[in-house]
Every structure is written in C-alpha cells, then in structure tokens.
C-alpha cells in the first residue's frame, strides 16, 4: 500500500479499526477487501447490499460485524408471504392498560440483517427500504425513531434464481454499496474446512468498540479532506456515466461515492482522499446503479486528472 510511504500521520481512530479488521479476517477467510468495504460502508453511514449465492458467508459477515462493533443485531428472514408489520412491528391491544401498545419489529436494531431481501414481495421490501431512508418508523401516526447507528446489511440471491422479486432501481439506489463475496480461494477454503466452527467462534467474540466510539468514527470519517482535484475526478466519472449510458449516476450516487471514498481513505489512515480511494470504492458504489460491467469500463476509460 502506498499508505506505507505516506508522510501522513495515522489517525488514532483508524488504529482502533485495524485489530478489528484483522480479527474479522481470521473468521471470514480471504475476504479482506469485502470486509474493508463493509466497514467503509458503515463508516460512511450507508447501507450494504450483498449479492451472492447462498452459503458463501453473507450472514457470517453481518453477524461478525455486529459482534465486533458491539451493535445489537436483528435479523429478518424475508419470505414471499411476509407483511410490512413483520418488519416494522405492530400495535397490539394491551388488556391490562386497555390501550394499543406498539411492539417494535426486528428492524429496531442497530445492525439489521435483511436476509434474502429479494424473496419478499415489493410491499414488504419497500417497508424496510422506507425505514432505511427515513431513519424512523411511523405507526398509526406516531413516530418511532430507529436506533443510532442504524446499519442495514441486506443480502440477495442472484436475480436468475427462482422465486425472486428483483429490487427496482429506485430502491437499489438506497444502498450505498453492493458487494459480492464469491467462493473462497482454495487455501482459504482449506483453512475454513479444517478450522473450528464459525458459529461457536462468533459466539465467543467480544466487542472491540462501543456505540459512542463508532459514532465518533463516523464523525471523523466525514471530516476527511476532499481536494478540488479529486472532485474533478469524481465529476468526470459522473459526467462520463451520463454521457455514455441511457441513465447515468445520480447526484445521490455522487455523494455516496465521496462518502465511501472518505471512509476508504480513513481506513487506510489518510486524512485526504486520493484517486485510488475513489477507484477502490467506485465499482461497489456504482455497480448496482449502472451495472458492474459499465462501472468497470467507466473507471478504465476515465483518465485521472
């Protein structure tokens, strides 16, 4: 990494995350980049979409982050017969008090794993996505704020699989990043097969951070410097996407791109964003909005100013 040759001073906050990433890398073998992206996504206050075939560690990744970051964890397994109330919660009549009382649903957790989100009907999907967007749930006219930080990791199966309701573009746009885990390489898989049970291991893990620290890290991430030269580069990429594609990247995508690049730079221990940070997060941020191929092509074609 070039960071090694940097005169930049390592931020103490980023130092906290180094052992976290190292430990996580031991549990989830050979997925260092995806782990970094997931943590960047969290630092950038975005939500993460993981798309892959079942059994490659999507749930493990979510669980792992919840444990290590000390977040309380809620899991929603999406099914085709799911209703919005199953996610958001519902008002139930309390006989003792003679009134209706709101029972919060599983979405009221700091880290929500929305598993197989594309198995649910659009109605249920949009209930979650609206909660993500607003940061609150409205039930019978009463606002119920969601906890802070609030981080959704949604997983979805590849679109070709049977029984899926693909997320429309407008809802995909609410995820900051989409990543794929992929099969582990042979050495990592060997270690996985020979090693101890991940479930037990997860249960033993102790949090390395508390909520206050995490919020402070998010705060620090937003302070990372972005120079005009880097904005030029980001704008060139956005402009090229609009010039070459029928529907290019939205301004929201542009904001997300910068937030993610800040988080990536923060993780690398820099106080400024450099082009390689932008390059590292570009495909995860743009891929689900304009297509993986197109995003890679844009990056390959756009000269660094």
């Amino acid at each position: 990494m070039v960071a090694d040759s940097q005169p930049a001073v390592r931020s103490p906050s980023a130092d906290v995350l180094a052992p976290l990433l190292e430990l996580a890398g031991q549990v989830l073998l050979g997925k260092q980049t995806q782990l970094q992206l997931a943590v960047s996504c969290l630092l950038a206050r975005g939500h993460l979409l993981i798309e892959d075939v079942p059994g490659v560690g999507k749930t493990t990744l979510a669980h792992l982050l919840a444990r290590l970051l000390g977040l309380d964890y809620g899991r929603i397994q999406f099914t085709s017969d799911m209703l919005p109330a199953d996610i958001l919660g519902a008002s139930v009549y309390d006989r003792d008090q003679g009134t209706f009382r709101f029972h919060p649903g599983p979405v009221f957790a700091q880290l929500v794993l929305a598993d197989e989100i594309n198995r649910a009907t659009p109605k249920a999907q949009s209930a979650l996505l609206e909660a993500m967007e607003e940061g609150q749930v409205t039930n019978e006219g009463v606002l119920h704020p969601l906890p802070k930080p609030f981080f959704v990791i949604a997983t979805q199966n590849p679109q070709e699989q049977v029984g899926t309701f693909p997320l429309p573009e407008s809802q995909l746009d609410r995820f900051l990043m989409r990543i794929e885990l992929g099969y582990p390489d042979p050495r990592a898989e060997r270690a996985l097969l020979a090693g101890r049970d991940r479930r037990d291991w997860l249960a033993e893990l102790m949090p390395l951070l508390d909520t206050a620290q995490l919020l402070a890290l998010q705060q620090a991430t937003a302070q990372i410097h972005v120079a005009p030269a880097l904005l030029d580069y980001a704008q060139a990429l956005l402009g090229a996407s609009r010039d070459t594609l029928p529907a290019g990247l939205s301004p929201r995508a542009g904001l997300g791109l910068l937030a993610a690049a800040r988080a990536w730079a923060f993780l690398a221990g820099r106080r400024m964003v450099i082009p390689e940070d932008l390059q590292a997060v570009f495909v995860p941020v743009a891929g689900h909005r304009i297509g993986q191929q197109a995003a890679s092509q844009l990056l390959a074609d756009q000269p660094v100013p």
Partner: protein
Amino acid sequence: MKDALADRPLEPATVGGLLLVFALIGAPHLWHLSPLLMSVFYAALAWRGVSLIHPRLLPGRRLRGLLALAALVAVLWSVSGQLDGRALGVGLLTVMAGLKSLEVSSRRDLYVTVFLGCFLLATQFLFDQGLWISLYLAPLLVVLLGLLVRNNRVNPPPWPRALREAGWLMVAGLPMALLLFVLFSRLAGPLWALTAPAPGVTGMTDRLSPGSVSQLSQSGAVAFRVSFTGPRPPQAELYWRGPVFWDTDGRTWRAGVPLESVSRAGGVGAVWSQQVTLEPSNQRWLFALDRPLQAPPQARLSGDGQLLSAEPINTRRHYRVRSQAGVGEVRLAAADRRRALAVPESVVTARMRALVAEWRQADPRPGALVAAALRHFRHQPFVYTLRPPALPDNPVDGFLFETKRGFCEHYATSFAVLMRLAGVPTRLVGGYQGGEWNPVGEHMIVRQSDAHAWAEVWLGDRWQRVDPTAAVAPDRVEQSIDPTATTSGPMVYQGPPPSWLARLWRDGGWFVDGLALSWQRWVVGYSDRTQAGLLERLGLGWLSGYRLALAAVAAAGLGMLPLWWLLRRGEAVTPDPAQRVWQRLLVRLRAAGVDLSPNLSPSDVGRRAAARFPAQRAAIERIVGLYLAQRYGHAASSVGLRRLRAAVRRLRLRR
C-alpha cells in the same frame, strides 16, 4: 497533453459514416473532374467500405504506396493539356482523399481525414458558389463535425446525439462567422474570382444575323436580374440596351463603337435606378435600360451608350446603374454618318430601290420615311414567328418580298437596310426587351427568351429608337415570349391567367429565384464596396483600411471571450502547477518504457515505475507522496511544490 485515445481503433460505424460523408462531399465534382479521377475516388471509398466487412482486404503499406503513385500519374494524365489550375489541384486532393480513406484505422487517422474532408468540401466552392451547393454542403459539414464529436468521446455517443451536438457547435459558431464575414477586409483584387471560361454560355453576341436572336429566344436561361431602387418603369419602356451594330455585310451585323466621340445631351423624364446581377456571358456588355447615364466601376460608357466591361464577364457581375430616356449624342460625326448609311451593293435589289423611292417621293423627311416603313410592315401580310423559313441568298430581299415571316432581327435588319437606302442614318441595337417581375423577391428576371433587336435612326438632332417588331406584333413589347412554345406558326404569348396550381408553381419559382438573387448579392457578391456601403449604413463608415482589420481582430477577440470563460469554468485549461510537474514526469516515465494508461491512480503509477526502476523506489515513492499531498491534501504549499519539483528533477531513470 498527448491524446491518449489517438491510437485507439475506430468502430465500423464511425468509418462507415466517414465514407458516406466523403462520397457525398465529392459528388458535385462528378460535374467538374474527369470520370477517371472520380472513379478512382469512389473505388477507393468502396474498397474501404468492403473491408469493413472483410478486414483482410485492406491494402498493405506497400500497395498503398503504389496506389498513391498510380493515382498521381492518373491525375497528371487527366489534366494534361489543360490550363485550368483548379482541375490539377482539386483532382489531386480528391483522389488522395479517397486513398486516405484506405489508411484510416485509428482515431489519429480520423482527425487527419476529417480535416481533409473539410478541404474537399471547400474545393466545391472553387466551382460553384451558389445557394444550392451551400445548402447541400452545410449538413455535410455538420456530419464531419459529428465525426469529431464521436471521435473525442471515450464511448462514442450514438449518431443522432453526435449530430445534434455538432449542429449546436455550428450554431454557436455562426455569430462569430457572421461577424468575421461582415468585418473581414475584402480584397478588391481577383483572389477568389476564378477566371475559367464558363462553358456553353448563350447570350447576346457581337454578331447579329437573321436567326441569331430567334435561337436565343428558345432558352429560358436567366440573362440578368434587376431590382429597382425607386419606381419601376412601365413594361413597354423595358428596353435593355446592349451592343450597338454599326457595320453590315448585308447578312451579318457587327458590333462597334462610334469612331468619333461627341458631346451628349441631357435626358428627359424619370431616372431609373437599377441594381443588376448579370449572369456570365463571356461578352463585355453590361445591360442597362435605354439609356445609361454613367458607367459602373470597371466599365466604360461608349459614345453611343454601350456599357462595356473592362474584362469579359465570366463570373456573375453586380452593378448599379441609372438610366434616363433621351440621353444621347447631339451631333453625328461625318465618319459615323458614313458608317450609318453604308449598304453593301450586293444586297440591294431593284425591288428595294423601288420601294424606297416610292416612300421618298411621298415625303422625304426622315420621320415620314420611318413612318412609311412601319406602315409597310403593318399593312403587308408580315408574320412574327420564332421559326422563320431559311433565307440563304439575300436575307433582306427574301424576307421583305418573299417569305414575310420573321423574328425581331429580320424586321430590325430589313428596316435598317431600307432606312439607309432612303438616306436616314440607322444603326441596330441588341439587347433584351421586357422581363418577368418577381413580386416575391421584388426584382425583374430577364431571360434569354427576352432577347431582342431594334433600330435607332438619326433624326438630324438625336437618335430615335424605332422598334419595327412592335409594328407587326405590338404584344411582343407588352408580354414575354413563352420559351416552351416551339410552334412554327405565329408567336404564342404567355397564355390565359394560370390555374391556382400553376400560380403556386410560379410563385414558388419566384420565391426561390429571389432567394438565389439575395444569396448572390449579399453572400457571394459581398465585396469591398458592398462592405463599405453596409458599414456606412450602420454608421461605421470610419471603419476602413487598418481600422477595419483592427475591428475584425477585436470582434474576434470579443467572440472568443465566452469560449474562454466556458473553458475556465471547466477548469480544464489551467492545470495546477503540481499537476504540470506530474504530467511531465508521466511523459518521462512513458518515454523510459513504463506502461502507463491514463486511468492509473498516482499510487499505481508509482508502483509501476518502482517495479521498472527498483533502484529508484524510494525516490519515486517520495515523489508520489509529495504529489498526492500537494494536489489532494488540504495543506498544499509553495514549499511542498518546490520539494516536488526538486525531487522530480533529481530523479534519474536508470536501472
């Protein structure tokens, strides 16, 4: 900065578009260049087109060299023996443009070829500067620009969008073009005035013989267009005066000028101001209403009222002239009197002498003799026709006493011979009579079919116009001849009021004719004089000479301002100093053989450079760090910049 895309291969759609637009740009040359050259041009384009599907058919470097050589020979051979410099230059450019298309494979080639296409397009104006060719070529220029637009994008936009952008670029450039067109100094000399002879031009010539005008009358070609500043003369007064014929051998009359110049009398009546656009005639006569008062520039007014251009008129000519009836010589010099009375003995017959003697006996005054002759034409069964019978031996005698069927020149020449026999000095005048008024363009169209000949007789103190044709066919003077009527019977004049469809057709024709005239006057004919006139009217009369040149430059500068501002806004033109240092380093690294694509981040550039020059790893990493801090950090400083510069300067790319 070097264009990183220059060597990128082209898409077939781009090459196809290029070939199509080349084929269309070259098409008008089919009328100008030899068939050999045009077939080479189109064969080369077709070859490149086929190789889009079968790339193996593309000629190699050596074959291309041979082709170029063969093409050069073909050009030289096809223009050998001609003195037309255009054919050589344009032929060479056209053929080589065709061959160049065989070479087009990368974006760099496309740039060159597009500029070549612009040149090819410009060469069309060496042959024709009319409105239609301009309307034809303008969209092709947009397509050429569209090629550049497509070529300058990483992912070429679809054709409709590229064309729309190119169109906007053209529109955006228009004000600037207009400004330069209006203000740019015009050369009075014939820089662009091409002097190639206009082939196959018909019109009034310096010879008049029976049949020469009736032949002209079959042509609907435009002779000239006139607009009037001020009132328009009545149709019967529209005698457009051209050559004056003094001498005859009895059959053919030759144009000439008076031997002696005499003072002229002032005219009477209205002064008609005309603005004439004359089509090329290869002759020297400028036509004007009977009679011109003063010669326009580059022409002179002869004693008998002919406007003679200094050079034969082989391009369209615009001039202003004022005319007034009654202007003319006050005295007939003795030498000219002899000329105006000369009749070759060979054509005079007893019948003619007898006829003239009869008239002289009745009343020998010139006016009475003229009246007698006209009466003769009117009362005898003379017929006015476009298809007179042939008169091989003595045309005047044959016409007067045998056939009695003729066109204006028959009447005019016979009348002149009779008058001369009777002792009245007479000369013939050639020109045009009448014309079609275009109410849309507010101008008059005078066609070859309006060609006419009439006589002028000396009445002792002045020359009097006498039109013997009018005695036979008074309608001729009021209406135009329909050139499509080719009957051999009596003359057919333009028929009954036209139906609405014919009216629409006629009005459309007028509109188009008006457009073409405006184009000629204001675009092609925009000369140093027009420029001065226009500036005068805009109150900018003091703009002339060097002041005009300065104004053009200043206007161009002002026109550039928005562009400069736009570019500045894009911040693409002023790289920051650190970036410039970095760009220079990239050039050095590329030259040293480091493979660097433009999408690499500075860190990746550093890694590749360090891999190639491991000994310099530390120095390279330091440079990368300094550059990133300077350009992307929040504390860029002159100290940092100096350090970066020094580090780059010290870097020695040795392995």
